[in-house]
Structures are given as structure tokens and as C-alpha cells.
Symmetry: C2
């Protein structure tokens, strides 16, 4: 699968319309409600947060996905509708119902997603009015507004689309904090006109998500509202096999995942952590995660300091059975630690490496064949400011 980037985002595949409106959930008056609708009913699949406190919209969308069919989605930002009990579930169902009535489809054909503050009830009157407004505004060029309406602390909308010849895929995503996707991810929506049955779509989505969104980690915090949803309308009549569609989805998901980390709250650097020579995938992911989540590694990179001592500290704490004499670390290609001891690196060349925004850390454990690459961000004053000021 080798697609060509095209314009149009989630509306790039023919037959998909979207809109974004401001219904008053965000005090700033910015866009906070999005509707996505397909002309035809779609095969649908999703991956969802593993957090025990999963939000009401996640529960409702999982219910509506039981038959593998969806035709629309409604997404609000500014309020997560999480930890809201029975009332929250009723509110999420009411959102789906309002969309269904307006579009003349069944409630169970509508997915619901929310993102924002945890613990408050939705102002349903504003939402009901907003949904009517959003459905009236649905159009084929609405992807940009939609991508903007699902933003929270994101500084730019994240969307893109690819043409794969017989079919196309569009995608949008949001997320800049509370982000450690686990079995699922933050919010992302993928549309396609490919013909693929729900089971194959689900398998393809799982593969693509594991290799993209599940390999980013901003602050080690798995959200209550994570959701990736894929809709395939089949209107192109291009039948696609699961493995081919997985490869095509990955081509869309990888740059979206990259954008999420690039826009991480307050970040000044994007850090690629590559672990090589691990026993297995689980060990590689555990150790990459330990480095990515270490506040000492993250603050060192914010300070422009290639502090490899903190990298090995994080590795050794996460896996006490590591053999230090086999562990080597490169930063930006320079060997800062070789077999557990300081490498012979000219400090001047390290300064040059730390001057760029994207930095690669290569860790070789020399104890197996497993390899992983995880994306993370640094920890800055700005991350603290954003999260100290983002008040309940």
C-alpha cells in the first residue's frame, strides 16, 4: 500500500460530510461540537481506553458498535462526560438519539465521543441545540471545522488523507496531554470508501493502532475517553483485504500519531526512543515506556542536556535484571554510553545534536532481537503551566 497524500481530511473519501460548531461548552466561544455523517451505512470498528473509569460516550459507542455498523458520529470537546454515572450514560444516549432523529437513521448507527474535563455533567440543552445546528451545517468541505471542534489543549487541528488508487482514507485526531494510549488511544476518526467487512476492519484497525497511536506517550496518563473509530462505506466498491487495509490505515495513523506528540502540551522537543536487542516486544515496550515517562529524562531534554545517566537509571529501575555491561546508548547517533560506561564523545558534537527539535535515542540491550520505536515529548515549564492552570 503506497498512498498519495490528498486534501480533504475525513471528507476526502466520497460520501462523507462533516461540520464543526460552537455550542457553548468552551467558555472561549471556540468550536466544540462536531458531527460526521456518511451517505451510506458503513462497516465500523473501534479501539477504546483500558481505563476502569471509562467515560459514558465510550460505553455507548461500544454498545452501538456491536453489529459492526455505523453511519454517523457526534463528538464534543470541553467536557469529557466521564465519572458521571447513569446521568452521563443517559446524556450520551441522548446525543446519539438527537443525531439519529435529524438524519433519519437508528440511534445505534451513531457513535458518541467526548473530550475535556472529567467529572462534570453535560449541559444538554446547549448540546441538543448545537447538534441541530451542526447537522444543518454538514458539508463535503467540513473536515477542517470538524478537526478544530474536537481540539482541547491542542494548538493546531490534526488531519490528513491519502488516495490509495481504488479507495481513499481520511483521518483526524486530537490530544496533547493525558496521553498514554493503552489498548486504544486518544480521539481519532478514520473514514474510507473501501469495501471491507466489520471483522476485517476491526483486525486492520487494531494492527494500525498498535503500530502508531499505541507507540506514543506524552505524560504516562491513560485517559478515560480514548477512542479510535474507523468507518468504511464501501461506496468505491474496492474490496480490500484486512492486511492491505491495515497497511493503508497505518499510513494515515502514523503521521497523525506523530502530530499528537509534536503538539504535546508545552513540548519543545520530539524524542524518538528506539530500543533494540530486547528479549521480546513486551520488554522493549516496558523499557521504552520507562524512559519516556521519566520526568528526569524529560526535563534533561528540555534543558538541552543529553544526560544519559538518567536514561540508564530509568532502564535499570524498570528492569532490575538488566546486565549493565551489555547496554549501550546513542543520542543523535553519538555513542554516549557503551556497555554501561561513559562513551568517548566530544561534548561539542553533543551540543550540536541537542540544538535540533527532533532527537533520537538509540538503546541497545544486546539480549534479544526485539525492536521498538516510541515517540515522546519533553517536560517544560509550559507543560506545568498548562496543567496547573487548566482548572476544574
Amino acid at each position: 500500500m503506497n498512498g498519495k497524500m490528498i486534501y480533504g481530511g475525513i471528507c476526502a473519501p466520497p460520501g462523507f460530510k462533516a461540520s464543526g460548531v460552537a455550542c457553548g461548552l468552551k467558555e472561549s466561544g471556540e468550536l466544540d461540537l462536531c458531527v460526521l455523517a456518511s451517505d451510506a451505512e458503513c462497516s465500523a470498528a473501534g479501539t477504546f481506553t483500558s481505563n476502569a473509569f471509562r467515560a459514558a460516550p465510550v460505553a455507548v459507542t461500544i454498545e452501538h458498535l456491536e453489529d459492526g455498523r455505523l453511519q454517523a458520529a457526534v463528538i464534543n470537546s470541553g467536557n469529557a462526560n466521564a465519572c458521571t454515572g447513569e446521568r452521563g450514560l443517559a446524556d450520551a444516549r441522548a446525543m446519539a438519539h438527537s443525531v439519529a432523529i435529524e438524519l433519519g437513521i437508528d440511534d445505534s448507527q451513531v457513535a458518541v465521543a467526548s473530550t475535556g474535563l472529567i467529572g462534570g455533567y453535560l449541559p444538554m440543552q446547549k448540546l441538543e441545540e448545537g447538534i441541530k445546528h451542526a447537522i444543518g451545517a454538514l458539508h463535503e468541505g467540513g473536515a477542517g471545522e470538524a478537526a478544530r471542534a474536537i481540539m482541547t489543549t491542542d494548538t493546531y487541528p490534526k488531519e490528513l488523507s491519502f488516495d490509495f488508487g481504488d479507495f481513499s482514507i481520511g483521518g483526524m485526531a486530537k490530544g496533547a496531554g493525558m496521553m498514554k494510549p493503552n489498548m486504544a488511544t486518544m480521539l481519532a476518526f478514520l473514514t474510507s470508501d473501501a469495501q471491507i467487512d466489520p471483522r476485517d476492519l476491526s483486525a486492520a484497525l487494531r494492527i494500525a493502532v498498535d503500530a502508531s497511536f499505541n507507540l506514543v506517550n506524552i505524560d504516562g496518563c491513560t485517559s478515560t475517553n480514548d477512542m479510535v473509530l474507523a468507518l468504511a462505506s464501501g461506496t468505491s466498491r474496492a474490496k480490500v483485504k484486512a492486511e492491505d487495509f491495515a497497511a493503508a490505515l497505518l499510513q494515515v495513523c502514523s503521521p497523525l500519531a506523530h502530530m499528537l506528540v509534536e503538539d504535546a502540551e508545552g513540548s519543545t522537543r520530539l524524542i524518538k526512543i528506539r530500543i533494540g536487542g530486547a528479549f521480546d516486544h513486551a520488554e522493549a515496550k516496558k523499557l521504552a515506556t520507562a524512559v519516556a515517562e521519566s520526568p528526569l529524562v524529560k526535563t534533561a531534554f528540555f534543558g538541552g542536556d543529553p544526560n544519559w545517566g538518567r536514561i540508564v537509571q530509568a532502564l535499570g529501575a524498570a528492569e532490575p535484571r538488566l546486565d549493565p555491561s551489555k547496554v549501550s546508548v546513542k543520542i543523535g547517533g553519538l555513542a554516549v554510553a557503551e556497555r554501561g560506561e561513559s562513551g568517548m564523545v566530544d561534548p561539542a558534537s553533543l551540543e550540536g545534536i541537542m540544538a535540533v527539535k527532533e532527537i533520537e535515542i538509540d538503546i541497545d540491550l544486546s539480549r534479544g532481537d526485539s525492536v521498538i520505536e516510541l515517540l515522546t515529548s519533553d517536560l517544560s515549564y509550559e507543560y506545568v503551566r498548562i496543567n496547573a492552570e487548566y482548572h476544574t
Copy 2:
């Protein structure tokens, strides 16, 4: 065991002398080398880091503790002697040897500890000269200098001592970052004139450390150099049982652990996380740790925001099988979340609670009888500054 606080720190028990000197490891010219010596050979026990990259002095001290006997300790700050391979081990042994020669005791009677930057070799000439100087300076009132000489990013020396009638215990500790004690802790040294055999001392120390230092967590980072060492000279001739000595040690270790968190890098608040109703100790500790390590919880508290949504997010991410409808959260005694939903709390009373420096979070899981209390700190601009500027 109900001791009375007395002056004297690690020199409070008769027969212990200490000193702190500046040998040039810290560019600032501050004290960076400490020697502690007992007139009599002591029963000795230690707990050590579980980090795979444990530092050379940790390895050497474990060797020297094999027979359960020690008479002196040498501790430097400003350089961790970690990730320094064979040369680091030789350097740590040379430190013990220099002390042994000067005091006329065996190398194996000397413990060695280091704290500071990871990955650099020790400047041995400076250290050898410093050790001679420090041994010449040993005196019965030297505890204050000693406690100051082991500081790194600490803003004040941490020491105290208690009289238990028949015997006394003195202690000092350091640590303000890279602190998630695991099976051991940061640096702490405990002295006593009690009579207790090494095996009982070791059992008592393990109990006291588990209930004090192992329940603090500043930034989730387990150091390569953690060490708690206890020396008991027996000169008081007061024979003490392991369980009684554990209780006495705990009375010294608890306030030292509290001081470590109070002095956490850049912290503005001390947060007590109490988990109740957990299945077992392991679950209680895992969940308390998840809350303590969440950068979103820590920044919220820095911002004076009792954001309980982030607390339940951290709990639910750590244990996906939690039943949200059974989880309640109090902040400063006010029920902010009841059975998974927002509690009825007056926002004005929450503001009052967030105005104090020490804040208690009470989490009730209602699924068992296990209870734990963990101490942590908030995440501030100052933590980022300290760790972005503390350069290699």
C-alpha cells in the same frame, strides 16, 4: 517504644564521631565528603537500590556487609560513581581502604556511599586528600557537618535523634529528587549504641524502611545509589529485640522520610495519599503510586486545583478492573467524589483546603481491608528548572 527527641543527630549515641569537609567534588566549594566512625565495631545492616545499574559504592558496601560488621562509613556527594565499570569499583574500594588505613581497621569494616551525577569517574586524588582531612576532623559534634556534606539538591540537612532510655538512635538522610525508593531508598545513615545482633538489626531495618522511606515517592525515579545503613555499637549494653528496635528505628525513619518529601525538588506542597479498602498491600501500593506519579495530579496540586478527575483517571489506568461505582475520594476531608461521581462540595470550602501546604487525599476503594499512606510532592516550574539546569 516511645523515644524522646534529643540533639546530636548521628553522633547522639555515645561513641560515634563524624565530620564533613569540602574536597572539591562540588564546584561551589560546599561540603561534599563525610566520614562517620564508631569507637567500637558495630552490628550493621543495609537496604539497597533495586536498580540494575546499581552504583559501585553500593556493590562494595554489600560485600563489606557480608559478615554483618562495620565500624565506619565514607560518603561523598557531587558524583554518584555509577555506570563507571571496573574503574568505579576500584575507586570505591580505594575509598574504603583509605579510611581503613587512617583508622587502623580492616577495609571490610568500612561502608562506602556516593550520590550526585551518574556517569563520571571520581577524582581520586581529591578524594584521598579529602578523606585524610575528614578523618583528622572527626569529632563528637560532627553530625551537622556530616548531614550537610551528603546533600545534593537538598535545601537543608536532614538529621534527628531519639533517646529510648536504655539506648539512643541517631539518623541523617539526603534526597530531593530521583526518588522512588524500591526495596531500599535514597541515602540514610542510622547509628545506635543498642546491643543487637546483625540478623535482628537487618530484620528491624527492613521493617522500618518499608514503613517509612519505601512509602515516599517524589518523581517515580529509583536511583542507582540508594542506600540505608544502620550501625549499632552495643556500647550501651542494652539488649534490644528485633521488633522493639524496628519500632524505635521507625520513630527515626518516619520524620526523616517526611523531611525528604517536604524538601522535594521545587515542591510547594506535601501530599499524603491514603488508600483504604484495597484488596491487599500490593494493590494499595500500586494505586497510591499511580496517583503519586501522575504528572497531571501533581501539576493540578501545584496549581491549587483539587482536580479529582485526574486522581480517578490515574487509579483507573493503573487498575482497569476497578469498579468506579465503589470508589470515593476525599481531599482535605471533603468528599469530592462519591461512588465514582462528583460529590456535593462547596467550591469555597475546597479553596480553603488547597490554601495549606500539607494536603491529604483519602481514596476508598471499598473492595478489601488493606490501607496504605504514601507521601509525595507536587510538580512545579521549579522542579523543571532544577532538573533542566542540573547539567552533565
